[in-house]
Symmetry: C2
Subunit: 446 residues, 2 copies
């Protein structure tokens, strides 16, 4: 985390409980150096101070302090893996005790009365659902989140998981849950300067979250360290990996700007080169490699799948709400771009082939270093261009965003480490090894 950057936002006192990473907070809770109530109070106070500017939240859990008190009363041997940790939930996941609005005018006050599978798992492990974070409508299109970038609220926090990224970046919560269909988890992490993880497709249940594109939608999450990302990976059952964790301290990294490198802004190219230099300086090997030539078609295939699957996803809403539903969704339902089923089938088949090709290439390295975003966060509230993320979502491979601390930068920027499908644990282990080198930000003392 870029705690002492020259960015416009004022970081809170480094010893405030809300500034602890999740892993630090768990240790402090275990050693009775902080209580769940104190942790929640500090988070709520930070939200109180900051949310009128940052606007990360659509709803705050009015019972968070009561829930914290109950957790504090629990004997230590009955505590879950996330005992006492406040967590933000992107408002596309159902929560039994809070509204789930999808940031849609059509669902204001909507109360499904049940928890999404991931929310259920978080609660079972003792997490406190602190509230619902703002999102692009249905995590898809329509209206943007109102969330501003915590480093300068004139700028976007990215999207669609805008509030989830901003709330962790701005020390409202140590952890939050987002989703990714194009670049909706990783890109906001790059813009806001936080860690984020999008696991291999299909490994975490999406039950109770608003589906947009069935082959792409993936649960992702945010934290302020790789260890925090691994904590949630464990809770969600990502404990196995298709290949062993790195057995040496000298990693083999492959750097690739990818087929869309002409859309990379100077700051993003600079961040990639700085990351590579820091890795080499830290004793790691950084090789360059081109991706297969036909990968340049993947972004188009992604969009074909996104729009055609979106037609099925929004069909009933278009029927129910008619003109009251944002036109973006009618656009998909009516297939106004006229993407044919032949194109769709070809997109599926080409993606399946590319998955095999990428896994073979990535299998020779501990991680593949690729851009997280075209550049800094744009002004306003536009979620930004997903071109550097959509390909990896389509391939279904795990991705970690690591912030690249650059002392004179006006806004944060990050890079992505990726690897073969199902290498989630190994990738998180590699990312944990190299993140302190890449991030390089002065860390808070607790």
């Amino acid at each position: 985390m870029n705690l002492q950057t020259p960015h416009a936002f004022e970081p809170p006192s480094a010893i405030a409980p809300n500034c602890l990473t999740a892993t630090q907070a768990l240790q402090a809770l275990q050693k009775d150096r902080v209580s769940a109530i104190e942790l929640v109070k500090a988070c709520l106070q930070r939200i109180e101070e900051r949310n009128h500017d940052v606007r990360a939240w659509l709803h705050i859990n009015a019972h968070a302090l009561e829930q914290a008190a109950k957790l504090d009363a629990l004997p230590k041997d009955q505590r879950g893996k996330l005992h006492g940790l406040p967590i933000g939930i992107k408002d596309v996941f159902e929560t039994k005790d809070m509204p789930t609005t999808f940031n849609s005018p059509n669902f204001q006050g909507h109360q499904p009365g049940q928890d999404a599978a991931v929310v259920d798992l978080l609660r079972a492990e003792g997490a406190i659902i602190l509230g619902k974070t703002d999102t692009t409508e249905f995590a898809a299109a329509g209206r943007n989140a109102a969330t501003g970038n915590p480093h300068d609220t004139q700028f976007s926090s990215g999207g669609s998981s805008a509030g989830s990224a901003a709330s962790v970046a701005d020390f409202h919560v140590p952890l939050s849950i987002g989703t990714q269909t194009g670049g909706s988890t990783i890109r906001p992490a790059s813009f806001c300067g936080v860690y984020a993880f999008k696991p291999t497709f299909g490994m975490v249940s999406r039950e109770g979250f608003k589906i947009y594109a069935n082959s792409l939608d993936t649960v992702g999450w945010y934290g302020r360290s790789v260890a925090d990302l691994a904590l949630l990976a464990d809770v969600f059952g990502l404990t196995e990996t298709i290949r062993p964790k790195p057995s040496t301290l000298r990693l083999r990294i492959c750097m690739s700007l990818g087929p869309y490198c002409d859309r990379l802004q100077p700051e993003a190219l600079h961040a990639m080169n700085v990351a590579a230099d820091r890795l080499r300086h830290g004793g790691h090997e950084v090789a360059g490699s081109d991706l297969p030539a036909d990968f340049d078609a993947l972004d188009g295939h992604h969009r074909t799948i996104l729009h055609r699957e979106g037609a099925a996803a929004f069909r009933n809403l278009a029927r129910r709400f008619g003109g009251e539903l944002h036109d973006d969704f009618h656009h998909r339902v009516e297939n106004r771009d006229r993407r044919s089923l032949t194109e769709l089938r070809h997109a599926y088949d080409a993606a399946a082939q590319a998955r095999v090709a990428f896994d073979a290439l990535a299998g020779d390295f501990d991680a593949i270093l690729v851009p997280s975003a075209p550049g800094y966060a744009p002004e306003g509230r536009h979620p930004g261009d997903p071109v550097f993320n959509a390909m990896w979502t389509l391939l279904g491979v795990p991705c970690v965003n690591i912030p690249v601390f650059l002392p004179d930068a006006p806004l944060p920027i990050g890079i992505t480490l990726t690897g073969p499908r199902f290498s989630d644990c190994a990738l998180l282990a590699s990312a944990g090894l190299v993140a302190p080198l890449i991030d390089c930000a002065p860390t808070p003392h607790v």
Copy 2:
């Protein structure tokens, strides 16, 4: 429909409104020859007479007659595509005004308070959700449906969509919704002697239905004619097709017993041969063809994907309910069969390759004729062996079950017509052309 079979069950009077197909009922409603109230009353009376034996239903909509009265009052130009049609919903889909139990002891009385996407679409088109039909627990494993085969309740109606198949077969409703992850839509149709359709994977929203295996779960449906299946296909937006509908009355059909033909019982082999003979007799061409040799691995790949994806799907329930959840689900969550991620990845990649190979083969024919089940329904309540369906579910291709009327058979049996991915409309058109030949049952006069 085998209306005048020698089966044990007594078919109702052929002029009762509940005996109309959906298409016939729509016409009768349009011409004021029957009202929605009369239709619902006839269905409820049939359920009253038969459900204590057949046990197709877990819940009946107490407001169905009121809803029918409202629909009857609606001017004709404001009526939906399914105006006044009673429909059964497998109890794995959320319904805002009825319990959704998944036939699980852990969810008795569960009320999500919202409609699944398909239920929302059905209601929007004027259908009356008559109730929730029995199912294998979570449409997956655990406890079986209590539903008996309407033709002889000593026998199974198949599963997991047991109640949906039986309710249509037994004239409780003209239409019902099921799901298929292995053989859960097509196999019960074969056992009960009704028409069923499983569309191409991903074309119909699964939002609000209990996920088991993300790459396999598909919404399917039942009717008593191909026209009725096409009616729902239209409502769900399956209006486009990757290839044109058949332009000739002489179809080219490919018959294949598939790689698991050694598991075919004599009655199923007989049904296949009878269907082929009737097609030839009706002037169609029936060629034989072997599927690619490596297709014999697809059933294993299906099971690997089923169990590993099931682990993600049931993880939160295993955490929440512990020993109160049926051991079958813990089996999946704990991966007790020790299926590795390497196997899983290989299963995905092999399936993707096989999809391309099958589409190429199937593209030369108007339909591929394959078995719907290994034989007659088994005794008891076991859902039956999915080996003749799982492969097609894995390939994601559309499948239609057509009953094969055999005058002296003790129980119904069907065959499947399948075709390339996204050929849904063309396949339904082909099935509509040949179904009267294959089924060959005396039809009810209305």
